[in-house]
Amino acid sequence: MNVWMSLIVSLIAIGAVVVVGAIGGLVPALHPVFGVVIPYAALAVFILGFIWRVLRWAKSPVPFPIATTAGQQKSLPWIKQDKLENPSTRWQVVDRMILEIVLFRSLFRNTRMELYKENGKLTYGWQLWLWAFALAFHYSFLVVVLRHLRFFLDPIPLPVTLLESVDGFLQVGLPSVMISGFVLLGAVGYLLVRRLYVPFMRYISLPSDYFPLFLIASIAATGILMRYVVRVDVVGVRELTLGIATLNPVVPDGINFLFYIHLFLVCVLLAYFPFSKLMHLGGIFMSPTRNLRGNSREFRHVNPWNYPVKTHTYDEYEEEFRDRMIEAGLPVEKQPAESGSATDTESAEDSAE
């Protein structure tokens, strides 16, 4: 799959989603389907799929404590442990995880390798763009999602209103401009351009990497269009969304088809989520290299499937080498005369179980 094919495939997929959404919006008879049935179905797929995924992961045990230790271990009392990068208690793990999840700690380390062929030198410069744009992307996405709660809750909770006033602090335009949407679009743009521009990124990318970016970009773009350009009937929309939230669905007339495209895109995102890489949201919490302690010599980690294995016991070892051991002055358990009787221990099971 080269980059053009990948782009074409994912663009076709997005195009199809938009067209289907538009049809749903343009044909009034379909409004109940696209305004009510599909959103509920998508939500159900999202919730059940998410749970199914997490349970599927949880079903497999973590047999060994394989934390990636990215700092000094806890050892001698006078050596300073790096508690965040090599945690030895549960609380320290929590701190590490918070940094990972809230601040993308590991991505913050990112470097870029450069080879100077003229003098054969390699350098690894600190590279923060990916980290910065990834943070911008995720946080603006979060803010956008939270702001949308105003459509699903009545009365609108104070935190949501507050968030809106922070988000719109620039106070430009009417309706006032919400920054998050533009940041989201900008960050998605960066991630997309990076994928296309950096040769190795282009090389590793699959259609399933472009598709979510296009999807989120389309959601943001249709949202921005509705807010600033095509002015949809917000009151009607809120009637519909509140109906969904209160399990009391209504389908008001006169909502612009653009809204149906937006909504259908969101539904696709929801339904797609549990079956895609977007599940990194759940996975990061369960990643064994990050959420385990590094104290594995201090406390024993139990492997539920630890089974006995065939080992080479000391008796078998001595049996084979006894004469030479005696010659070399090594102590032996049995003297040569009695050794004949020991051959039946040949395939002893692991005694250390």
Partner: protein, 208 residues
Amino acid sequence: MWRVIHQYMDTMNGPTDFMEDPVNPITGTRFENAKSTKMVHITEFTADLIRHNKLKLDKSRNDNLVVTFHDSCNPSRGMGLLDEPRYVIQNTCNHFYEMPPNTIREQTFCCGSGSGLNAGENLELRFRGGLPRANAVRHVHEKHGVNMLACVCAIDRAALPPLMEYWVPGVDVTGVHELVGNALVLDGEKERKTDLRGEPLPGMEEEE
């Protein structure tokens, strides 16, 4: 192997209740961090001895060496053994320089021959994979005159010498405890003229 001991061994073959908790008999230090596996890394042991002033060390015997330290991958990223070997090195020799920060500690580069890839027929792979490590050594070799690459891994001691010879001629490889062996002043020892390799000690060159 230290990854195996640190992260796997107790789970696989433990519990080792029949053994006693590890205590350094000379210093009385309890190795709390190893109380379940009862396996202590030799540099943890030696660092503890040095810290308690139990070793009589003559650093100047290593004065011919300008040392840097290669963190082996798994002791750093599968355990976190970073400062113990450094402490031992800094107490056994006078000239120690770190390689650039992005190439040491948890960001250390592999010797290029880890995980069983230390064969003879794949030298090209080993030299390619060892390039980042060698490049960082070359940096301190040129900047500080480093001529000795210390490590805590026996595979490194087999893999790094040809790598150095290929990319950074003039840098040799040593184990941390070779430095200890040279610096340690034994009761009743004669005046040492050479180090363990038979190379003349600093100031002894003419007498050879």
